[in-house]
C-alpha cells in the first residue's frame, strides 16, 4: 500500500512538474504567467478524444494531441501575446486571463459543458505485481514519461544553441539579442516547449481520469502555478522541485490524514506553501535574473 502511494505521489508530482516547467519556461523569458496554460492542456485532451473518435491508433492519437498542444501554444503567442510584447506585467496577465476565458467558452459552447469520456486502452488501467506490491500501470507510465520529458528538455537546454540561448535569455534577454539571436525565435521556442509539456501533462491527466471537460486544465495548472512559486518563479529546476514536492505532499496527506481532517488537505498544503515562502521568499531554488533600471 505504501509503495503504491509513493508511486502515485511521484506520478502526480511528475504531472505538476511538467506543467510548472511549462509555466516557468515562458515566465523566465517573457515575464508572463500564462494562465491560459490550462486551456492548452484541455485542448490537447479534446484533440486526443477527437483523434480516437476518428479511429487513429492510440500512440498516433497521443502524438496528434501533444502536437496540437504545442502548435496551439505557438499560435497563442503569435496571435495574443506578440502584439502585447513590451507591455506591463498586468497587461500580460490580463491577456492570459482573456485567452483562458475565451477558450473555455469555446470548449463549453463548441463541444459541451459536460465531461466527455475518453476510451483509454484497457492495459492502461491495469496493474502489475512485485511480490506483495501491486503497482498501477497508469501511474508507472506517468513517471516514466515525466522522467523522459525532463531528461530530454534538460538535454535540449544544455546541448543546443537555442536551448543555451533560452537559459541565457532567462538571465538577460537583451544581451542574447545583441549576439544576433532573434527574440522571436527564443520566445516562439519557449511557447512551443510549454505547449509540448502541457500536451504531455494532459495525456497523463486524461489517462488517470479517462474523461475531458472544459475546465480540465484549471486545477492542475493552479497547482502547477503554486509549485512554480514554491520552487522559485522563473527557475526551471525550482519548478520541477516544486512540482514533485507539491504532488508528493498532496498524495501523502491524502493517504495519511484521518477522515475528519481530510477535507482540509488543500488548506494544509497551502499553509505549507506559505511557510516555505516565509522562510524562502524567492522560492526553493531562486531564478538567476538580471535586474536593470
Amino acid at each position: 500500500m505504501f509503495a503504491q502511494q509513493i508511486i502515485n505521489a511521484i506520478s502526480l508530482g511528475g504531472v505538476y512538474a511538467l506543467l510548472a516547467l511549462g509555466l516557468a519556461i515562458v515566465f523566465s523569458i517573457v515575464g508572463l504567467i500564462n494562465f491560459a496554460h490550462g486551456e492548452l492542456m484541455t485542448l490537447s485532451g479534446y484533440a486526443l478524444l477527437a483523434a480516437l473518435v476518428f479511429g487513429l491508433p492510440f500512440p498516433l492519437a497521443v502524438l496528434v494531441a501533444v502536437s496540437c498542444g504545442a502548435l496551439a501554444a505557438v499560435a497563442m503567442e503569435r496571435i495574443a501575446f506578440r502584439p502585447m510584447r513590451g507591455a506591463s506585467v498586468t497587461s500580460l496577465l490580463l491577456t492570459s486571463f482573456a485567452v483562458s476565458s475565451l477558450l473555455k467558452v469555446v470548449f463549453q459552447n463548441g463541444i459541451s459543458a459536460r465531461p466527455q469520456a475518453v476510451a483509454m486502452p484497457g492495459w492502461m488501467t491495469g496493474a502489475f505485481s512485485f511480490g506483495d506490491f501491486t503497482i498501477g500501470v497508469g501511474p508507472s507510465i506517468s513517471i516514466v514519461v515525466s522522467a523522459l520529458a525532463l531528461i530530454l528538455l534538460e538535454t535540449f537546454l544544455r546541448r543546443s544553441v537555442t536551448g543555451t540561448a533560452m537559459r541565457a535569455a532567462a538571465e538577460d534577454f537583451d544581451v542574447v539579442r545583441l549576439m544576433g539571436i532573434p527574440a522571436s525565435r527564443i520566445i516562439a521556442t519557449a511557447f512551443l516547449l510549454s505547449g509540448l509539456l502541457a500536451g504531455l501533462a494532459a495525456m497523463l491527466w486524461v489517462a488517470q481520469r479517462a474523461s475531458v471537460d472544459p475546465l480540465m486544465g484549471f486545477t492542475p495548472v493552479l497547482k502547477a502555478f503554486i509549485a512554480a512559486v514554491v520552487g522559485g518563479l522563473g527557475s526551471l529546476p525550482g519548478a520541477v522541485a516544486g512540482g514533485f514536492l507539491l504532488g508528493i505532499i498532496e498524495v501523502l496527506l491524502q493517504a495519511t490524514l484521518p477522515a475528519a481532517i481530510a477535507p482540509y488537505r488543500d488548506a494544509i498544503v497551502l499553509s505549507g506553501v506559505i511557510a516555505v515562502l516565509l522562510l524562502r521568499p524567492q522560492g526553493l531554488i531562486p531564478a538567476v535574473r538580471v535586474q536593470r533600471s
Binding site: 543555451t164 541565457a168 538571465e171 539579442r177 545583441l178 549576439m179 544576433g180
Partner: protein, 234 residues
C-alpha cells in the same frame, strides 16, 4: 564606416540625448567621453538597437540601421560590449562564447573562431568550464569582449570597459583594445576615464547634457582647456 546624424533619444519626458552627430572611420578608435548622464551609453544603445531613437539617423557601411532590432544590427556586423559586462553568470565560459558565435553557419566556423578567441584570451581557456559568474571582474570583461568578437563584427562598441576594474586590470583591458585596433578593428569607445580614453583613441567626441560640445583628434582634446579643466583635473 558609421555615421550618426542628429540623434535624439527620449525616456518619457526626459530628453537623454538632444543632438549627437558623429562619424567613425574604418580602423580607428573614436572615444565618446563625458560626465555621468551625458548620453554616452544611450547613444551606444541607440546604435546597437537597444534604445529607441526619437529622431536622427544611424548609418553603418552605407546602410540605414536606425531603429533596427538588436539582433539585426548585430548580424550586420556591429557588436556592443555593454556596460557592466553583462556576461551570462549562470552559463559556463564555453557557453557564453558559443552564444557569441551563434550567428555563424556552419557551426565549424564558430569552433574556429572560438579557438582564435582562446588564443587571444588565454585566461578564458583556463576557465573554459567555469561559470561566468565565478570569474573576476577583469576576466568577465575579457569574456564580454571575446563573446562580442565571436560574431566576427566589423565594428565594436565598448561601453565603459574600465568600470569597476582594479588599475592593473584596466591596463590589461586597454592593452587588449589597442591590440584589437592594430588588427584593424573599428572601435567606438565610451569611457568615463577620459585620460585613458584619450591615450588610446585616434579621435574623440565630448558629450555634455546630450549634446556634442567638442570634437577633434585625441591629441587636440587632451590639450584643450575645456577637457583639461572639466575631465582631466588640470
Amino acid at each position: 564606416m558609421l555615421s550618426v546624424e542628429g540623434l535624439k533619444i527620449r525616456y518619457g519626458e526626459v530628453e537623454a540625448v538632444r543632438r549627437v552627430d558623429l562619424t567613425v572611420e574604418s580602423g580607428e578608435i573614436l572615444a565618446l567621453v563625458g560626465a555621468n548622464g551625458a548620453g554616452k551609453s544611450s547613444t551606444l544603445g541607440a546604435i546597437a538597437g537597444l534604445v529607441r531613437v526619437a529622431a536622427g539617423k544611424v548609418v553603418f557601411e552605407g546602410v540605414d540601421i536606425t531603429g533596427l532590432a538588436p539582433e539585426v544590427v548585430a548580424r550586420k556586423g556591429v557588436a556592443l560590449v555593454p556596460e557592466g559586462r553583462r556576461i551570462f553568470a549562470s552559463l559556463t565560459v564555453a557557453d557564453n562564447l558559443r552564444l557569441g558565435g551563434a550567428v555563424h553557419q556552419p557551426a565549424a566556423e564558430a569552433r574556429l573562431r572560438e579557438e582564435e578567441m582562446l588564443e587571444l584570451f588565454p585566461i578564458l581557456r583556463r576557465y573554459y568550464r567555469a561559470k561566468g559568474g565565478n570569474l573576476s571582474g577583469g576576466e568577465q570583461q575579457m569574456l564580454a569582449i571575446a563573446r562580442a568578437l565571436m560574431g566576427k563584427p566589423r565594428m565594436i562598441l565598448l561601453d565603459e570597459p574600465s568600470l569597476g576594474l582594479a588599475p592593473q586590470l584596466i591596463d590589461t583591458v586597454f592593452d587588449l583594445i589597442a591590440e584589437l585596433r592594430r588588427k584593424g578593428m573599428t572601435i567606438l569607445l565610451v569611457e568615463q576615464n577620459v585620460a585613458l580614453a584619450l591615450e588610446i583613441a585616434d579621435r574623440a567626441v565630448v558629450l555634455a547634457n546630450g549634446e556634442v560640445v567638442l570634437s577633434g583628434t585625441a591629441k587636440e582634446l587632451a590639450s584643450s582647456d575645456l577637457v583639461r579643466q572639466a575631465y582631466l583635473g588640470a
